[in-house]
Subunit: 210 residues, 2 copies
Amino acid sequence: MLEYTHVDGLSAEDVARQRAIYEPLTASVRALIDATIRTEADADAVAAAKAEIDAATARLQSRQVDGPFGIRFSADGKQMPWGNPVIGIRNPVAPPLVIHRRDDGAYVSEFDLGAAYEGPPGHVHGGIAALVLDHLLGEAASNLDTPRLTGTITMRYLRRTPLGRLQAEARIVRTEGVKAFAEGFLADAEGVTVEAHGVFIQPRWAREPQ
Amino acid sequence: MLEYTHVDGLSAEDVARQRAIYEPLTASVRALIDATIRTEADADAVAAAKAEIDAATARLQSRQVDGPFGIRFSADGKQMPWGNPVIGIRNPVAPPLVIHRRDDGAYVSEFDLGAAYEGPPGHVHGGIAALVLDHLLGEAASNLDTPRLTGTITMRYLRRTPLGRLQAEARIVRTEGVKAFAEGFLADAEGVTVEAHGVFIQPRWAREPQ
């Protein structure tokens, strides 16, 4: 199932150059998404904006990969999950989260969620909380040598999560053969709003040959 | 917490007019998101596209609501969750799902997920499956008289979900006071890929005054 995995083997310079080209584009599309949801512009202004957007899309489509982005690797073996809907620096759907590994082994991120992620008025959609936590727990449960995919995950909603500045945290609790048990939470300035725990499993294709 | 809820009281004609203005705009932004992820255009083409996008954003921002979209209501009391990240016809992040209630009471949807929702190469991000299922189970567990928000939800991943045409289904299993128990699944043409079950709770603000 690696048909979409491009092993690009880009040098560090190439990675930096591509990032400099595509990251500002993605940031502009994120701003456009927010404006698209919130605009009250009239039909003429919207038609003019739509024409500009369609022109931009045609320019970008003039040269593009077949199929989705996949996961690419630089020459030094670093993953480039740039199309990912949580952390992808080339995916406008992603907030994107920047995830750090703390010295105590926890994976942590601080990020902002705006209008594009709204469920109950003024609050984060419960499924967006699940998207973020699934990703963060999965990252805590995995490493480059041992990728692990979600087996089961449970989200517990303590209260609604307001839109705005949030933080999330996840850690591995224990491992057991091909399984890793992870837990984490989403929080606002007042404390935890959603808790998660899950079992993450090393996929067959990523296990040592027996 | 209704500070962002606009009770617009739009007539059916106004709703249709707004839909005709904003739905094609949103569809264009969805195509742009896909192109942004997949493009291999060079720096000059990307800069030209970015300038067009920024111009479109400025046009749309010239008149916009403060804060997120909220949930608006038409004059006949119909909800307009147009900013929702799963079903919102004005939210480019949403695929969007169109959900139907079947005669047997199940809530069902068929939809396509493309590059913007990719986790493992060629496959749906596990958190996107969770986003879709959280929404669909919540919709099955709720109705206009009795909104219910997710209390806990568990996702069980049977196998990876390929990008492309998918279907999802959810139903209420039983209710117990302010709680409703719901279950559902996500499936491709070969069968179920992710199962979900959850408890959905009527929020305090939506309960009958005692």
